[in-house]
Amino acid sequence: MSNKTNLVKGYLLLFLVFMSALGYAQEKNVTGKVLSQDDNMGLPGVNILVKGTSIGGSTDMDGSYSITVPGNDAVLIFSYLGFFPQEITVGSKSTIDVVLAADSNELDEIVVVGYGAVKKSDITGSVSSVKAEELTAFPVLSAGQALQGRAAGVVVQSNNGGEPGAPISIKIRGNTSISASSAALVVVDGFVGATMPQSADIKSMEVLKDASATAIYGSRGANGVILVTTKKGRAGKMSIELNTSYSVQSVSNQLDLLDANQFAAYQTAINPSYVQGSANTDWQDLIYTGGAVSDTQLAFSGGTEDIDYYVSGNYFNQEGVVINSGYERFSFLSNLNAKISDKFKVGFNAVGSRNTKDGVSTQANTGGRGSGDVISIAYRFAPDLGVTDANGNYTFNSVGDDVDNPYAIAKESIDETVTDNYRANFYADYQIIEGLSFKTTFGFSTLNRTRGTFKPSTLITTAGAQGGIATIENTKMSDILSENYLTYNRELGKGNLTALLGYSYQKIKNERNGAGAQGFITNSVSYRNLGQGAVPLTPSSSLSETEIMSFFGRLNYDYNDKYLFTFTARQDGSSNFAKNEKYAFFPSGAFGWKISNEDFLRDNNTVSNLKLRLSYGVTGNPSIAPYQSLASFEDIYAVVGDETVGAVVPNQLSNPDLKWESSYQSNIGVDLGLFDSRIAISLDYYNIDTKDVILGDTSAPEYVGFLNSTALKNVGEINNKGFEITLTTRNFVKEDFTWTTDFNFSRNRNTVQKLIGGEDIFLDSAPGHFLQDETHILREGEAVGQFFGYEYRGVNQGGTLPEGTASFNNVPGEELFTDINDDGVITTDDRKIIGDPNQDWTFGFNNSFRYKDFDLGVFFQGAVGGDIFSYTFLELASGGSNATTEALNAWTPTNTNTNVPSAAVRGKRISSRFVYDGTYVRLKNLVLGYNLDASLIEKMGIQNLRLAISAQNLWTITDYPGTDPEASYQSSGAQNSNVNNGFEYGNYPNIKSVTFSLNFKF
């Protein structure tokens, strides 16, 4: 290698000598170094040109250069592919160091697409790229979180506020299903369905949105695809990177609740014989604490011309803001690539991690006796009780259902999940003849998870009578993927043809087993000795396997660099498809027109890029679970003669015609670049008709006697349409100062088009102890998940009620509702749609400034529209609990001018009183960074040293009175994530953080 370097240097020298020989008398020599702004590394091969002359040169392997210029008024132009060019007047200087900023919107940038890569300018579909530095702007557990607000059409939300390790949901272009998951497919380094790597290891992330881009993923493409490429080593000497950050975290918001005296007065108004307890406890203060995240990554990379490597290790540790909650992760990643010959390349990629999550119960699905989560209980628990009673036992609630106090639950219960995840991927790429190459990949991924829970008998209502309850559950998933494809590339006429043909086989296996016991002699063994429990709970185990076998192909033709054609197709055969519908075919086509390459625009100074994109295609949704279409018996628990015996009942008939759900998507897009791409705009409009949506048909009489009385049928239809705007402007590009703005905006409108027989489907997401069975609705012509209930009209003031209103018992002080059918009483017939949780539009807005060695980033993200239904506020207004300070203004015969009903125990009715506008704008990240001057640190052998302080979720503008407008109660799992939107109950609070970070590069 060093020989080659010397050779290059030699030529360069020769070249410079030749150049200088041609020079004038006043000419002088300028030397310096060209660095990349990204990593302060020297950039080799940068073109240097003296403006207005043919004098030029380029940098060497270290980025150093030396050039002879005609005089002091000479202007040097530094240009490099993928970076903004810079012009510098030489003046009296003889040393000029230059820092080039990456131009990530460069149209020649290579974008990864399924089974290949294309130039950004050649893309015909709708693809958003997310920059690596956007993913590492602040510490996140999963790179998916960092995607929030960064790409148009992508909605990212935590399933549980700021809970350490909370799952996040990523949806692209809306809900395309009802019962099947709408979560985007994640593909990491070609592995379909992989776990997202940690963000510092990611080189690029592409979001494929339209059918032209996703149809190559066939039956799994309908929800959009996120393609992640991890970092590789670069030829050159080893570079070591150390990135470390530490965040101090706190709860972003608390509710204003009654204190002990106010609470006692409130309860006395409900029940005159209420006796006030002796304590005054702020339960929120007791369960919240200061949190912290420490995140450290160490990466080594480098290589020779034949072998390159990238190896990194990461340690992430979060102490939650709720006591006893936390998350810890170790992970590593290794990428090796070797060139065996000019034609033959192999590579190996390995990823592993261990995550440990200490959970506390939040967002519980019921809060009845002996259950519930620490957050909602902290709100509802009597503030006049202490943590322990006179006997030293933990208290339980004195009003409403018997629940243990939140401090005791958080402190005493154990919920620990340990997940090990490993993935290895091997590839070999062989060039058969010029233009034709064959690539085979073989990957294996495994995930092992153990979750143990223990509720000790000191939690009197939860596990007192049972003598402690312990469970342990093991899950094992394995995933084998083999993909083999030919790529062919040749010139054809005035154009260029690329063809892809491949075969893929994937096998996914899930195993699960669980056991539990209760009645423990001691609380000290946790879930680690189930045998010690007097009473075993029924054990369980299951196994499911899925095989997917596919052929896929793509044809790209680029005519005269003006007209682009893309055709893709995939045929998926899947074992979980029903007997008569084993194979599914998904075609797509797209057309791109580079208008700016036409003669009439070619030399236009204003329009530097103009492209039209049109696409149409069909993609599928993996909507059928393994074995779901088969006839089955179900084994049940049965006792004969006091002995547990084997027992089966008929569960369901076979459903041989059950099909996947198909999305028919069209997309029109325009890319416009103005003023040498200083302004770049992309506009996309799409329309997705999803057909064959699977719905449960309950029209069969129950006397047929199957345990599962719901037959699945492909009858529903859903439409999503919307548009997306992405705008990037480079407002200032100067040597000392740059200012870049990124803005993205998306609007999606979802409509349920067809349900079984046009009948509404009523759904229930309320916590179990609310005893509600209809809280939201699917109705033709409306978006999914409309809130359904009574329309609140204030307080019944007695006397003649306002026209068209009534209350349940017609008692003054009661809640007054709209009497829709005007029959003078309120019944279930007086309910209607009272809110729409679907956001009207979402946006992200980022400004980056760089002044000399300082940089500043301001990132806003938000959503407009989208109602929230708060079960928390409904519960706190129902009498059997503590209340918000709103209760101080409750209706009384002497305080009638109020919207708050009288203090009373009331049924927890779904009404518009608890529907709130969830619009918010959030300062998601504010970062100030300082890069130590290269000349200072170079002596210490450091290439780059960056210090930064940043703040996350510093500021939120919203009218929503709860703790966090990003509500997502009962929203995990396939069906729930589609239909349960905008509900809030006892979520883990959102977190504010201040982060200090340090990046070294050696």
Binding site: T440, V535, S544, V639, V640, G641, Y703
Partner: protein, 506 residues
Amino acid sequence: MKNFKYIFLMLTFLGVACSDLEEEPVGLLSPDGFFNSPADVQTAVNGAIGTMAEEGYWGRKLSLPIMLRSDMVTIADVGTAARRIDHNQFTVQADNGMITAFWPRSYQIIAATNEAIAGAADVNAPEAQLNAATAEAYFVRAFAYYNLVRLFGAVPYLDTPVSNIDEAAQISKTPETEVYANIISDLEYAKQWLPDTQPSTAKPTKATAAGYLASVYLTMGEYQKAYDEAKYIISNEGKFGLTLADDFQDLFNADKQSGLNEALFTLDFNGFRAGNYGQDYQAALTGIRGNEAGGIGGGWSVAAPTVEVYNTWDGRDYRKAVSLDTIGIFKGNVEPFINFPNFDSRNIASAYIAKYTRFPGLTSNGNGRGSSFNYAMMRYAEVLLIAAEALNEVTPGTTEADGYVNRVRARARNQAGTMSMYPLDVTAGLSKDAFRTMVLEERKWELAFEFKRWFDIKRRKMGDEVFGPSGLEPQPNFSAARDYYLPLPADELQRNPNLQPNNTGY
């Protein structure tokens, strides 16, 4: 370098796999080829029995309404679910939540027996062995339809597995008399093929089938046949191993039940459960709130006898002491029932049902839920009382009929080993009417809270009397024209309009 090509090629082939994409579920039970031996038939029968022991059937959804509709049990906690109160007060509507829960469970029991019976046709095994297993399915099917027909009258009747839902969705109700005829036919098959004895009372015997035939005929008013079936059992009690338990209390002690020979058929719980399977709620539903006795955390005070039950029951009858709890322990002190409401406003000042709360055995959940109690669906004492009642209708004034009642009473004199004078023997020579009244009263006390009373009230049309102002539990809403039948679930009539109209009054 050339070798790479071959290695490469090999790798590719190793990676490429082919599959027919057929699913071969391991953990999933496929109906195809399931039935190969009598044991497989038994497994499907067990499915029916397991479903009976589910929350939606005997766990509480069926058993509680049967209790509440009688004059012996009323609602204690008036704040409990309306779907329960509606049965007690005869304000049931066609969407009642108890009915919509136990209706599908009833038919899941039936579907499991239909699978067992149809599956038996695929099994190649000795006739006696196979038919004994199949006969259990016939018995359980008859048992499920017997409950349905008494509650609803005409119902959809299916006796084969459903393979075409669209067809099955259009059938009409089978008339009440035809359902009874089918039940009798099933029980006759069972009587023919079931063995004389079984290792456990949870498995039906010849005597069980005969006992249910006697009960069915009694309900139909065919007294000679009822007597014949009961008499058949009594004459062969030794062969069937049936005797009355010595101590009445032991019948309701979960830890002693399995050693007794009185039950003809029990529904067993063993203190374990899986979700709602294997979990009964009787102890919780009938227990006193806040009662510390027994250490199960008290009950929910949903269903309790009116104080009139306590007042009218002869205090010298040992069965009263076994059946009722008149005291509870609160804050460490023994308190009489008059004080129960002082400790929780949801309690009433009345004696509470003790049969299920006193000795529930091992429990898998608080409040006595998921007990290890075995519920006797029919006891030998009932067979004796059926024989007495039926014989009186056919031939009044026999000493034989007196003798059957006296056997039951004699046992009740054993007060935990101490012999009492009470209850006294039947006065000899009662008139037909007086004997009938006496034997129905005897059933009321002997079988108190054992889910029999409502069906006695119905078959003897005693509603107007027992729910009248002088009854144990006046219920002004009771209507003889309507309330002897429940409504079929309203949504079921929507799914199959051929089931319309609903029963009178709904």
